[in-house]
Symmetry: C2
Subunit: 150 residues, 2 copies
């Protein structure tokens, strides 16, 4: 009794991940996916689904499809080729470094936006009584300068 794995049609899989069938065909065209066939029709197994998860996550972190393909290929490379693996190791490590730098960028962007949010909230909750207007505006200019010139 062969345990029949869960399968997906192209539109099923597309719906689940909020993408289009066209995108799935495109990924296949670029060698990122290779679903089985039932006659002409594509049949996706959970292996394919798992790869798709990695593909989409790769996209979200800003990798190109080619880069994603390279990673997936290295990932599934034959474990007996030491040279291959040594290369993969180097590439993975540099990829990690790049991602860490990107993480830093995101942290910085979040901080900048949070500062802006605080500035705006403070401004909105205070209807700005005239007496304080001048100094408040001066303060505000300073805050903005710090943000701009950083």
């Amino acid at each position: 009794m062969t345990k029949s794995e869960r399968t997906y049609s192209i539109s099923e899989l597309a719906r689940e991940f909020a993408i289009t069938p066209r995108a799935l065909r495109f990924y296949e065209d670029k060698g990122l996916l290779s679903p089985r066939r039932d006659g002409m029709n594509r049949v996706y197994l959970s292996r394919d689904r798992a790869r798709l998860v990695l593909i989409l996550r790769g996209k979200r972190v800003g990798l190109s499809l080619i880069e994603i393909k390279e990673i997936l290929d290295l990932y599934n490379a034959d474990e007996n080729h030491r040279l291959q693996n040594h290369l993969a190791l180097k590439k993975f490590k540099s990829r990690v470094v790049a991602l860490e730098e990107q993480r830093k960028d995101i942290d910085d962007a979040i901080e900048t936006l949070r500062d802006a949010v605080n500035r705006l909230e403070k401004q909105l909750e205070a209807p700005a009584p005239k007496a304080q207007v001048a100094s408040a505006r001066a303060y505000d200019r300073e805050a903005r300068k710090r943000l701009q010139d950083a």
Copy 2:
């Protein structure tokens, strides 16, 4: 005595940030920068430089130029329009949420790659004596399955 601010020519600024003059003109065309002019020639002030820093960081975190422009515009919006500011506040907050999600994606990607790196290093440092080959390979298959099916 007017304190003459530091200025940059287009190619100076381009060199500093490892981009091309064409890119700077493109950003200007899209309304992200608006340098002064000396005759025909563009003159960038430190304000422009600061904006450019934000632009490039925005790009690195995956924002489109249009999104970046919107943020910069909101950022520099006239502080007297309460409705405007309320809108900006909402947009900034949702942007922060999006960035936090993206950071999660990056953390996940880093973790996946680190696991792969560990797997590869273990494999490379052990020349795989025959006695252990079978079980090692079985372990490896498991590790890979966990990574794939996650």
